[in-house]
Amino acid sequence: MTTQGHGRGAKGQGERRAVQMLRLLTLVTASIASIVSVAGGQQQRVATRDTARVLSYPIPPAGRLVAITNATIMTASNGTIPKGTIVIRDGKIAAVGANVAIPAGAQVIDGNGKFVIPGIVDAHSHSAAEAINEGTQSITAQVRMEDVLRQDALGLYRELAGGVTTLNILHGSANTIGGQNATVKVRWGLPADSLLFQGAPPGIKFALGENVRQTNRTILPGQERRYPRTRMGVEELLRDAFTRAQEYRREWQEYERGRKTVKRGQAAAVPPKRDLQLDALVEVLEGKRLVHCHSYRADEILMMLQVAKDFGFRVASFQHVLEGYKVADEIAAAGSGASTFADNWAYKLEAFDAIPHNAALMAERGVRVSINSDSDERARRLYQEAAKAMHYGGVSEEEALRMITLHPAWQLGVDKRVGSIEVGKDADLAIFNGHPFAPASRVEMTLIDGRVFFDRATAPTLEYLMELIRQKQGPRQVTEVVP
C-alpha cells in the first residue's frame, strides 16, 4: 500500500526500503553473533552496542491527521462497516463510519478493497525479552520484564507485519510466580522505553503444572531437584507466598498507623524491611497487579481459583488454560479471562486433553477468551489462529475477531484504550488486502497511535530482495542457474 499526502515519491520509497533492508541485514548479523545458549536450552540475547547504532533509522512521523477511506472496517465492537472511513487525529480515532468527511490536510490512506481491523493484541508473548526465566527459585515476584526489553528484537518487526500492535510480554513458566510482565506497544525501532504501554495496569506471571514441577527436565548428576515436584507443592508455595505477603502488608500497615499517631518527642517506629518480592504480591492482594496464570489441567485451574478466592484477589487471565473447557463455568464465575492456543496440543502429557474447541466452548459458557501466540511464529498469523475458533465450535466472525483484539485487551486491562475501532481509542490498526480470515489475505499496513510502523509497500520483502539482487548482480544471479 502506498500513502498519499506526504509527497514521498517512488524513488524515495525505494531508497528507504533499500536502507531498511540493509539495516535489517546488518542488524540481524549482529544479533546472530549475540545469541548465546544457556543451561536449560533457553535462548538469551545479549545486547551489543552495534545493534543500537544500526537502529537509528527514521521511523515515519506520527500521523497527526490521517484518514483511511473506502475500507471495510471490522470494528470488533459495533459490527462491520462495508465502506467506511476512519479519521485519526493526534494518534486517536476521531471519527469512524460510513459517512465521515475527510478533513482538509489529512494524510489519506486509500482503503479501497482493504479490510481494517483493530491492531491485534497478543496476551502471551516473549518477544523482545532478553531473558525469560529466573529459574533458580520458584517464587521470583521481584523480577521484571521491563528491565530486559529490546526494542530491536526482530520478532517485533515480524509481528507488526502480522498486524500485531500490543503484546503482553511475560516471564516463562519455570516458576510458580515468575515475575512482573510488561505490556507493550510494538513500536519497533524506537528506544526501548517507547515500547511500554503507558497506563496499562501492571501484571505478573504465575505458572502451574509440569513446567513448574520441572517434570520434563533432565536432572544432571549431582544436581538436586528443585521444590516443588508435585501440584500439591505448587499450591503450598502459592499459599506460603501470599501468607507472607499478608503479614508483610500488616507490618507496613501497623508501621504507617504508628507513624501517624506518633507524639511529639516520641521516637519514630523503625519501618519494616522493604521486600521487593512481597511488594509485588501485596499489589496482587490489593487488586493493583493483574495475575496471568499459565495453566493446563482442570484441577490446577480450580486450585488457583480457590487460592485466589481465599486470599481475595482475581486471576485476570488463565494462560494456555488448555483444559479450561472442562471448568469453564468456574472460570466464568470467578470473572477470570482465558487466553488459549487455537489448536496446539499433544506436546506434553498435560496438553493431551487440549482440544481446538476450547476457545468456543469456554466462550459459550461465558468466559472472555483470547487466542494467544506464546511464539514469535504464531504471533505473525494470529488472524489465521483466530479463524480456527470458527472452524472448531463455530463462534461468530465478530467473536473470533474479538478473541485477538478486544478480549485480550480486556484481559490486560487496556480495553478502554485499544482492542476495537471506536472514537476516542488509540489508532492502533491493521490493514489487510482482503478479509482477515480469508486464505489469500495478508497485512498491508500496521499503525500504532496513528503512526505507520509497517507498510508492505516499503517493507524489505523477498520480492524486493530479489529485485535488489537482480539490479546489482544481473538476472541470472537471482534464481541462480547451476548447470
Binding site: V36, N216, H357, L361, Q384, P439, L462, Y464
Partner: protein, 448 residues
C-alpha cells in the same frame, strides 16, 4: 450424515469402550473400515474440484468399492447408490502431507511413545512403517480436516530411514501403506548454530567457533558422501557377484541403500539453505540419485536450476520463522517463487499433532504470491506425482482411489469445514479425541 448401519457399529465400539472404562481405549480406527462394501456412494449437486480437470458446478461423483467410478455434470445414478446431497458443498481429493511423524509419536514429552529418532547417523534400513501405530489418537485428528494421506518418517542423524506413504486409516500398518518404502530420508548436514531453526544445528553447536563448526560440517558432508560411495560399490559388487553365480554376505543397511543409488527410490533431502541445496545437487550428480528437496526455505535462490533439473520441492512448514537475516516474508513467499519458476512443489507440516494444518500452510503461501490453483495442486496431485502414485492418488478421476472430502468451501480457508470424508471409498466418521471431549464437556451440567 452417516449410514444407519455405521451408526449401529459406532455404538458397539462406544459400548465396548465404556465397559473397558476408558475414553482413550477407543480404537483410532473405526468400524467404518470394514472390508470395502461394493455398493455405491453418490454425491450430487456439489461443486466438484477434480484438480486435474476443470471445476464441475452442480456435478455428481460416484464411489464404488475403494475407487472413484465416475464424475461429471451428467452421471446416471447407480440404482444401489447411497445418496449424499452436496448442495452448497464442494468435493475435493484428499490432501497429502509431504512430511510428518504420524504414527511414530503420540505425546511429545513422553519418551515411551516416541519412535522418531534412532541412535546413530546412518539408519537406511529402518522402515518407518514398522513402527507406525495405526491407533494413534493423532491420526483421526488429522484426517477429519481432509488430510487423508501422508509421508511419515523418522528424523535426525544423517540418513534417518525410510519414509512410508500412508492413508490415514487402516487396522494395521500394512493396510495403511500406500507405499511402504516411499523414499529415503536424508537430513543434509548444515553449519548449525546459524540462528533459529538453522537446519539442525542445535544450541550445542552455537558455543563452538565458526571454524570448528565448518570442520564439523565438512566431516559430516564427507561422511555422507562416502556412505553413498560405499552403497554404490556394494550395489555394483552385488550385481557382479550375482552374475558370476556367487553369493555375498548381506549388509542390511547397504541392501536398503541399493535401490537408492540405482535411482529407483527417491531420496528426500531435508534442507534449509541454498548452500545445502548446492551440496545435494553435487551429491545427486555423483551418484545418480533421484532427489526430492524438503523444507528448503532458501530454494528460491536456485528456483531456475531446480526447474531445469526437474527437482521437486516439498516446502514447509510455513509456520516457521525465517532465518534472522532473511526477509520477513521469506518462508511465506518462497513457494510462490518456486512455482512461478516451474518447480513442482508440494507441502509438508513436518508435524504430527498438527498435520491437520497442512492446508493453512498453503494458505499462507497463497497470501504471499502462490497462485491458488497451484497451491491446490501442491496439496494433492503434485505430492502424488513426487511419490509415484499419481495414477491412483491426488485428484478426482474415474479409477482413482476414492480419497474424497466434501467441504463447505475452499479447504485452505480456515472457516471451511469437512462435512463428509472417504478414504479408499469408506465413509470415515468425522469424530476424534477432540470432538469426543468437546461433546462430553459441552454436556456438562452447569456448575453451581
Amino acid at each position: 450424515m452417516k449410514g444407519f448401519r455405521l451408526r449401529i457399529a459406532d455404538c458397539g465400539v462406544l459400548a465396548v469402550a465404556m465397559i473397558a472404562g476408558t475414553s482413550t481405549a477407543q480404537n483410532a480406527v473405526r468400524p467404518a473400515q470394514r472390508a470395502p462394501a461394493q455398493s455405491a456412494i453418490l454425491i450430487r449437486n456439489a461443486t466438484i474440484v477434480p484438480v486435474t480437470g476443470p471445476r464441475i458446478p452442480n456435478g455428481t461423483l460416484v464411489i464404488r468399492g475403494d475407487r472413484i467410478e465416475a464424475l461429471g455434470p451428467n452421471v446416471t445414478a447407480p440404482a444401489d447408490a447411497r445418496v449424499i446431497d452436496g448442495t452448497g458443498l464442494f468435493v475435493y481429493p484428499g490432501m497429502i502431507d509431504g512430511g510428518t511423524q504420524l504414527g511414530l509419536t503420540e505425546i511429545g514429552s513422553v519418551p515411551g511413545g516416541e519412535d522418531t529418532q534412532e541412535v546413530g547417523d546412518f539408519n537406511p534400513h529402518n522402515v518407518a512403517l514398522t513402527a507406525v501405530n495405526p491407533h494413534s489418537e493423532l491420526i483421526p485428528v488429522t484426517r477429519v480436516n481432509g488430510v487423508t494421506t501422508a509421508i511419515t518418517s523418522a528424523e535426525g542423524g544423517l540418513i534417518s530411514g525410510q519414509a512410508g506413504l500412508i492413508d490415514l486409516m487402516g487396522w494395521t500398518p500394512a493396510e495403511m501403506a500406500v507405499r511402504r518404502q516411499a523414499a529415503m530420508v536424508v537430513s543434509y548436514p548444515s553449519l548449525g548454530g546459524g540462528g533459529f531453526g538453522g537446519g539442525g544445528g542445535g544450541f550445542g553447536g552455537q558455543q563452538r567457533s565458526e571454524s570448528e563448526r565448518r570442520e564439523e560440517l565438512d566431516r559430516r558432508t564427507r561422511s555422507l558422501r562416502s556412505y553413498f560411495a560405499d552403497a554404490k560399490a556394494y550395489s555394483d559388487m552385488k550385481g557382479r557377484v550375482a552374475t558370476a553365480g556367487g553369493v555375498r554376505k548381506a549388509n542390511q543397511a547397504m541392501e536398503a541403500m541399493a535401490p537408492i543409488v540405482r535411482g529407483e527410490i527417491p531420496v528426500i533431502f531435508d534442507v534449509t539453505t541454498a548452500d545445502q541445496i548446492r551440496g545435494v545437487l553435487a551429491l545427486a550428480d555423483t551418484f545418480g540419485i533421484k532427489v526430492v528437496l524438503r523444507g528448503a526455505r532458501e530454494a528460491w535462490r536456485l528456483a531456475d536450476t531446480l526447474a531445469m533439473r526437474k527437482i521437486p520441492v516439498i516446502v514447509g512448514p510455513l509456520t516457521s520463522v525465517p532465518g534472522a537475516d532473511d526477509p520477513y516474508d521469506m518462508t511465506y513467499a518462497n513457494p510462490g517463487v518456486l512455482a512461478r519458476a516451474g518447480v513442482k512443489i508440494a507441502f509438508q507440516t513436518s508435524d504430527a499433532a498438527n498435520s491437520r494444518n497442512l492446508p493453512y500452510n498453503a494458505a499462507l503461501a497463497v497470501a504471499y504470491g502462490l497462485d491458488a490453483d497451484a497451491a491446490l495442486r501442491a496439496l494433492t496431485i503434485n505430492a502424488a506425482e513426487i511419490f509415484g502414485v499419481a495414477d491412483r492418488y491426488g485428484s478426482l478421476a474415474p479409477g482413482k482411489v476414492a480419497n474424497v472430502m466434501v467441504t463447505t468451501g475452499d479447504p485452505m480457508d480456515v472457516r471451511s469445514v469437512v462435512r463428509h470424508l472417504f478414504i479408499r471409498g469408506q465413509p470415515v466418521p468425522l469424530d476424534d479425541r477432540h470432538t469426543r471431549l468437546y461433546e462430553q464437556f459441552r454436556a456438562r451440567p452447569r456448575a453451581q
